[in-house]
Subunit: 208 residues, 2 copies
DNA sequence: CTCGGTCTATGTATTTATACGTAGTGTCAA
DNA sequence: TTGACACTACGTATAAATACATAGACCGAG
């Protein structure tokens, strides 16, 4: 049985080098290449023919989610395993929606990461325990109780716009913006702009 | 000549493991231990006797800056090398102010990281080229035009405290807090709390 | 000693945000 | 058709923030 051909995609050379180094002691995993962003990973796939792509999300030029979608379209045999620091349900569900076969956090041990690579190679879907917990959580993700419009508004708040400017941009009245803010505050049990900005940034609604 | 005793401090096991693995091929560097936060690093120092501590900034329980300050007080012979993803001048200057002998970004190659470890061990101060550029930059970092007090105030704003609460905490009048806020807004050309919070978070003044 | 910078604080005025309440309109599913 | 939901918006009230201006006290450097 031949080794798993692994492509590592991360814009931090230290991370890449460390992973490569660590994996060099695995007989059944062969690091066939590295890439610094999603686009480069895709470009190298024909040449490198990876079985599994271990990929970060936040990268320049093309992020891991967009790349995973393309892999899912054009290279169905290539399994994407996301390696991310983000443990928000939002990120996890977006990744899986994009076709990734697994999601592990950067907090996991090397052993678990190696197990994850093996699992997805063998056709499984791998979530680290912490991620499983997030997905199975009975606690509804707060973003899911926010309407689309509310998310739009707080995203703009998080970009630093005042309610007046938001109203202008969305062509609605200031009073409507304030109502949306009030509704969000109530749903999330917060009562300051600061907390609202923080929430937005921490939940992928930072507006950037 | 004996090997450099290196202690790696990072809350991401994958990073730690990768670095250890990579460094295991260096004859002159001996990874004598790892720690997941600043406090643990300090606690292990008597036992492990590291020459150099390669340490991240953002970690639970005690961040790298606070830890570096303590190293600088209690273990002067131990050289702290910061390994961080943050390239803000603020982070760099805070780190160096805390006594760290070097600052490299997580974007550097393994070779450079190894060189950095050697440099600080040999008594030098090491900045990666990108960091040097930041420090030599003619562009004044906005944080540098904020007074210490102003930074304190906006840090608390970013933590979600109202001006009234900040006044109470700092034992000054609300009007003084407002004046500080106004001065900051003027210097940074912003005019909303949301933009202020965002600025603070993005420039290491998030108050966390 | 002088001067600049920082911190503190107040007067005045206006705008903005938070919060309670209410309700019309449109859409969609049952 | 009805009801639920989302979006829109206003009345009322209060608190908080923004902005302009001014100035005293203290400290440190020249």
């Amino acid at each position: 049985m031949s080794a798993i051909r692994l492509l590592i995609v991360d814009d931090h050379p230290l991370v890449v080098d460390g992973l490569s180094s660590r994996l060099s002691s695995c007989d059944d995993i062969d690091v066939v290449g590295v890439a610094e962003n999603g686009e480069e990973a895709i470009e190298k796939t024909d040449e490198l023919k990876p079985d599994v792509v271990l990929m970060d999300i936040n990268m320049p030029i093309m992020n891991g989610i967009d790349a995973a979608e393309i892999f899912n379209e054009k290279y169905k045999h290539v399994k994407v395993l996301i390696l991310s620091m983000h443990d928000d349900k939002e990120y996890v569900t977006n990744a899986l929606r994009s076709g990734a076969k697994g999601y592990i956090l950067k907090t996991v041990s090397s052993e678990e990461m190696i197990n994850a690579v093996r699992s997805v190679f063998n056709g499984g879907i791998y979530y680290s325990p912490a991620v499983s917990e997030i997905l199975l959580s009975k606690d509804t993700d707060e973003n899911e109780i926010l309407t689309s419009r509310e998310q739009t508004v707080i995203s703009l708040v998080a970009k630093g716009l005042s309610s007046k400017k938001i109203a202008s941009q969305l062509d609605i009245s200031v009073r409507t913006v304030e109502t949306h803010r009030r509704n969000v505050n109530k749903k999330l049990n917060i009562s300051s702009t600061s907390a609202l900005v923080r929430y937005a940034i921490e939940h992928g609604l930072g507006g950037d």
